[in-house]
Amino acid sequence: MARIVGGINVTHVPYIGRAIANNLQQDAYWKPFFDGFPPVRDWLAKVKPDVAVVVYNDHGLNFFLDKMPTFAVGAAPQYQNADEGWGIPTLPPYTGDQDLSWHMIESLIEDEFDITTCQEMLVDHAFTLPLELLWPNQKQCPVRTVPVCVNTVQFPLPTAARCFNFGRAIGKAIESWDSDARVVVIGTGGLSHQLDGQRAGFINKEFDLMFMDKLVTDPLWVTRYSVPDLVELTGTQGVELLNWLTTRGALGGEVTKVHANYHIPISNTASGLLAMEVV
């Protein structure tokens, strides 16, 4: 059976793509963000995953409001990145793992998750940039991928409890996959930020740090909050932390922290990074 080696949660912001393209990693503005990654890359070099299941949210590239899924799972041989309208460089395609995709789809629907299956799927910066940050300077991303897209765009969003349980079901699916592959689960987005409204620029350091701590030790703590609570506490886009929670769910019971980083701001966002190993 396949083995989950751990999980990594990491912020996504389009401008990270521009910073990478322009080699700004050691620039004073970007350094505190990029310096978080080497210890996580070292850990990845040690645990050697073959496949990454990437839990993210689409930002209006693959999904529009005509067909907006709560949970979508990719089942394509390859995933293309594409123009999102912001002039950030388009990255090369990602190789899918269709065997794992279909095994997950079978298992998740059997477990009563009403997913949308995507045999063709464009992946945006929320999928590509975290992979680029974790495996930099590669012609081709060295792991096979399965995209899992969570709706954080159009309310109502899935509840925190539903996301956590969805993550658990993803973990169960991976661990029942008849393969000797090593799988890492990656969650992207957050932490606190709000792009829109008079409250634009809202950031909540205290909550973010508590969230990162609780995610390791007591993830169900998050489920006490409704989605509107989370918007109030973390901003309209801060709710992307649901992807972090889903990822944590996939890791199951106990985890240890491999490495964490937190820095304010990159763009309008409190950036977080949290790598966890399954005990």
Partner: protein, 118 residues
């Protein structure tokens, strides 16, 4: 169109719920089309015709022409889609944040940095 249900109020914050999604469908659909360079150029070449093609109402068209983000949100715009319109005008997220909060860009950036200090 309102459901009569009590809605959660979060100051300075519009939740993109069903009411917003209904109101803003045409505007957001137009913004979604801006994933394509060809469409972005078509918009710039004839903004009026492009807005009409997507069926924007007067409120939405005015907000787009004024490039006024708060007005776009009031007209049902969603941040993720509106960002693509901002991209056409090379507005970054601090430009957009500054505009909405009535601050200079420098003051808005300072506010973000300050959020990391406390």
């Amino acid at each position: 169109m309102t459901t009569g249900k009590q809605k959660r109020v979060i100051p300075g914050t519009t939740i993109f719920d069903g009411d917003q999604a209904r109101k803003g469908y045409a505007l957001n659909k137009m913004c979604y089309s801006f994933n394509s360079e060809e469409n972005r150029q078509a918009f710039l070449a004839d903004r009026d015709g492009y807005c009409a093609k997507f069926g924007l109402n007067e409120q939405q068209k005015k907000a787009v022409f004024d490039l006024n983000v708060l007005d776009m949100i009031a007209a049902g715009g969603n941040a993720y889609f509106l960002a693509k319109l901002g991209g056409i005008y090379k507005l970054d997220m601090q430009d957009i944040g500054a505009q909405q909060t009535g601050m200079t860009k420098e003051a808005f950036q300072a506010k973000l940095i300050a959020a990391g200090k406390n």
